[in-house]
């Protein structure tokens, strides 16, 4: 039928959604798998309901009355049959709705169950980046990083969610659903990854000018790799070994950077911007927007508003011979 043509075209496109590092249908964790399964069940049931309704609609278009029939005339037999049919349809709808509600409750229980996990994080939503604090029972093992979370594979990780300014939402679709970060209250979410890999997330509550570029990465790795990563993150920045990077560090400490950023191991102690102690070890800068390369670092420092207009990072004036050493230094903070 003519009406089906556009639909057939679009039927090909859904296949695109099944893969992707930020796709709800590409489930990489138990919670996301439950949700994806639920989605397919709902889609099948509700798609069938839609299809049956459309068939009924199309069948209804056959002209069953003669042209000169009185519009007010009704055949009691037809009326009775139609009453029975519509009542059955309503009953079936009710049953379907109740079944889907029950299914939803079951999934809800699974999704919001809290398993005891060793690892606890505190994620604070800022405009427009993620401040991540790894908690630990020993205070000297607590550290802060930004925009990138590493977790051990196969273990549940509890994340506490707070916001410092406006409402944000933490969402890593491959692993689980989203949860809002609301100033004045603390929410919680639990994530778990089945396989090592890179999972992207993004802020999912409109938070201002750069809401579109507030991404984050969750990297799942084996327990050993994770522990190695964590030990490195806890440590302060190693002093630069060569003079090029040494000069870069001096430039860093003499510029506005120190007013907002922190590099543990130096005198830079600003707390309001992302922690740069190990910025070179992160895959991206600017909340998932740019890959961590020297060129991108330089571009971000010299013209942040050209990349993310409205962001809180100011443009920093650098002399031409200061750009390379500074970018080298930052890239070397691994």
């Amino acid at each position: 039928m003519r009406r089906a043509a556009p639909f057939l075209l679009l039927a090909v496109l859904p296949l695109a959604g099944c893969q992707g590092w930020q796709s709800a249908l590409d489930a990489q964790g138990p919670a996301a798998r439950t949700l994806a399964d639920m989605f397919w069940i709902f889609l099948a049931v509700l798609g069938a309901v839609w299809g049956l309704t459309m068939i009924a609609l199309l069948l209804s278009l056959r002209r069953r009355r003669p042209a000169d029939a009185d519009p007010l005339a009704t055949n009691p037999e037809t009326e009775r049959r139609m009453i029975v049919t519509t009542s059955i349809a309503v009953g079936l709808t009710l049953v379907t709705v109740i079944a889907l509600t029950g299914l939803s409750y079951a999934a809800q229980k699974v999704l919001f169950a809290r398993k005891d996990g060793a690892l606890t994080l505190l994620v604070t939503g800022e405009q427009w980046w993620w401040k991540i604090t790894y908690e630990d029972s020993q205070p000297n093992r607590v550290f802060t990083t930004a925009n990138e979370i590493h977790i051990p594979v196969g273990e549940p990780v509890l994340i506490k969610l707070e916001a410092s300014d406006v409402i944000h939402a933490f969402w890593v679709p491959s692993l689980t659903g989203k949860m809002d970060l609301i100033p004045g209250r603390q929410n919680q979410i639990q994530i778990q990854a089945d396989r090592p890999g890179l999972y992207r997330g993004q802020c999912a509550e409109f938070c201002g000018l750069q809401h579109a570029h507030m991404g984050l990465f969750v990297i799942a790795e084996t327990k050993e790799e994770f522990e190695r990563w964590r030990d490195r993150q806890v440590s302060s920045a190693t002093p630069p070994s060569d003079s090029h990077r040494q000069r870069g560090m001096e430039i860093f400490l003499s510029k506005p950077c120190v007013m907002c950023h922190q590099v543990r191991g130096t005198d830079a102690g600003g707390k309001v911007a992302p922690d740069l102690t190990h910025v070179g070890s992160r895959r991206t800068i600017a909340a998932g927007t740019l890959e961590t390369t020297r060129g991108n670092l330089a571009a971000w420092i010299l013209d942040p508003h050209g990349i993310k207009p409205g962001v809180n990072m100011p443009a920093v004036k650098l002399e031409p011979d200061e750009v390379q050493p500074l970018a080298d230094y930052l890239e070397g903070l691994k």
């Binding site: 300014d165 100033p183 003499s254 506005p256 007013m259 207009p309 409205g310 100011p314 443009a315 004036k317």
Partner: protein, 192 residues
């Protein structure tokens, strides 16, 4: 119909009038126009100068884009806390540093003077922030400081912060004035 052309004329007059009023306040300029080090403000700190005319001054004219702009003042409000200005100046009431919401300005209370104070530092404890705070942000902070005493238009001054509230927000304070040398507020006067 003649009434529709009348409506068109009235609408355009209204539009122009409103445009002039609102344009300045609501502009949001993210990228600075130039990458120059800092604006040049040749201001004097005192009204005295030999001869009949007052002191010769040359200002860059940047004042309006910051002082009358709600967005820039709001940015200044954010930076004031981020850079810990309230560590010495409190929320404008002063502490170890002088109050910023009154009319007493030892080094001048117009925005160019405040910008110079932040850039250069002042004796007895005010650090110099030149090179450590980009010039744009210095202007934003200075604009916010001006709003503390309501030396900016009411509609541009910030409302209350999403924080514990020490007093009325800047936009609800009575309009201020800058008196050279200023008057010591009653709360600061020595007991007799």
């Amino acid at each position: 119909m003649c009434s529709s052309s009348l409506k068109a004329v009235a609408a355009s007059i209204l539009l122009t009038a409103l445009a002039l009023a609102a344009c300045q306040r609501e502009e949001r300029e993210f990228r600075s126009k130039s990458m120059a080090d800092e604006t040049e403000e040749k201001v004097s700190l005192v009204p005295l100068s030999p001869g009949p005319s007052g002191p010769a001054e040359q200002r860059s004219g940047t004042a309006k884009t910051y002082e009358e702009n709600a967005y820039q003042i709001a940015q200044g409000q954010r930076l004031y806390a981020w850079f810990n200005c309230n560590g010495c100046h409190g929320n404008g009431g002063g502490g170890s540093g002088p109050p910023l919401m009154d009319d007493m300005w030892t080094y001048g209370g117009q925005i160019e003077h405040i910008v110079q104070s932040i850039r250069e530092g002042r004796p007895n404890g005010m650090p110099s922030f030149r090179g450590k705070v980009p010039d744009e942000q210095i202007w934003e902070i200075a604009a916010y400081v001006r709003s503390m005493g309501r030396n900016v238009p009411k509609a541009a001054a910030p409302g209350r912060r999403d924080d514990m509230s020490p007093g009325p927000a800047e936009q609800r304070r009575p309009p201020g004035q800058v008196i050279d040398g200023g008057q010591i507020p009653p709360s600061a006067q020595m007991p007799q």
